[in-house]
Amino acid sequence: MSIINYASREIQFKIVYYGPALCGKTTNLSYIHQRINPLNRGDLVSLATAADRTLFFDFLPLNAVVIKGFVTKFQLYTVPGQVIYNATRQLVLRSADGLCFVADSQWEKMEENVESFKNLEENLAKQNVALDEVPCVLQYNKRDLPNIAPVNYMEYVLNNRRKRLQSFEVISSTGQNVFAALNAVSQILLHKFSKQSDVPQTVAPPVAIPVQPALPQNEGVSV
């Protein structure tokens, strides 16, 4: 749950990266940590096993824009994707203000994506929260791999609902659309937070926002 402090003029938000095991949640946070101005971030904390699998969570605190004199502070968390760690996922999900669901685009991971998304809805329901109430975006990650499902298929499997979520084609290992997805969920939650309670979530485009062609970017991203 966000907290607003009029003395320090800060607003805190919590965004949770959710998704199946090895889908790229930690890679998202690592990329953000590498690329964002060090003055605007804290340390990336990873509670991982010896094999670099997330055991508890990853955590990255960020400072963002100043709105009306208030500094917005975002805390990014990942959940452990492995099925057995559901109690930990419930804990990390507690009082989340925004969600970024990371799906693995590979065909063989589709069932795990669906299971994880269902698990997300179940865990939110245990906190008496419906997915529609939480700002959320979808990432279709690993779009650079050869055996991936088409975006339309992933939209049908994961985003086939009355109120569709904004979705992004992502390559988290190179950072493609990582910041776009983070900015989108942040925008949606700030809109929700603002007094304009009638502002709708950004209308989802007919297909996911595609990965940019691998040309030099303005900011010279080449990882």
Partner: protein, 154 residues
């Protein structure tokens, strides 16, 4: 609890008073009040110790993780945890169902003293937090304020 908690300047001053008094009596170095989701609500003391937001996230996780341990021996949760270091130590105690208080202290004091004074401090903090305004944060901004610049840039 529902609604976004709002800490007014008066709330922060009151909390600072309670926490400052506690630190002085317990001779501890830093105290942080967090919610169980890991958000920092208030802090008082030596702010240069470390990144408090990271302490908050980890402490919330640690507190929640031990809840299951407590259940195994028939408790609802452990309402206090003590982490002993060589020179610096940490004491965490439950404020109420939604909040936790963390105290960092060194060799100048003892865990007994910190534990003794933290009980009363937690009760006072709980009283203040229960009265926080939650029915509208009063901070109005428009879509243009949000869209003026990308929130995060590479």
């Amino acid at each position: 609890m529902t609604g976004i908690p709002v800490l007014t300047i008066e709330d922060v001053a009151t909390l600072d008073g309670v926490l400052g008094d506690f630190l002085k009596k317990a001779e501890a170095e830093l105290t942080v009040v967090i919610d169980r989701g890991g958000n920092v609500i208030s802090q008082f003391g030596d702010r240069n110790v470390t990144d408090v937001t990271i302490i908050a996230a980890l402490a919330a996780g640690s507190f929640a993780a031990t809840r299951e341990l407590a259940r195994r021996i028939g408790e609802v949760e452990f309402n206090a945890l003590y982490h002993q270091g060589n020179g610096s130590h940490m004491f965490m105690n439950s404020v109420d169902d939604d909040n936790i208080m963390i105290t960092v202290f060194g060799p100048r004091t003892t865990v007994g003293l910190v534990r003794f004074y933290s009980a009363a401090a937690a009760q006072n903090v709980s009283g203040i937090l229960k009265k926080l305004q939650r029915n509208g944060h009063g901070l109005e901004f428009t879509a243009a304020d949000i869209a003026a610049a990308p929130i995060f840039t590479e």
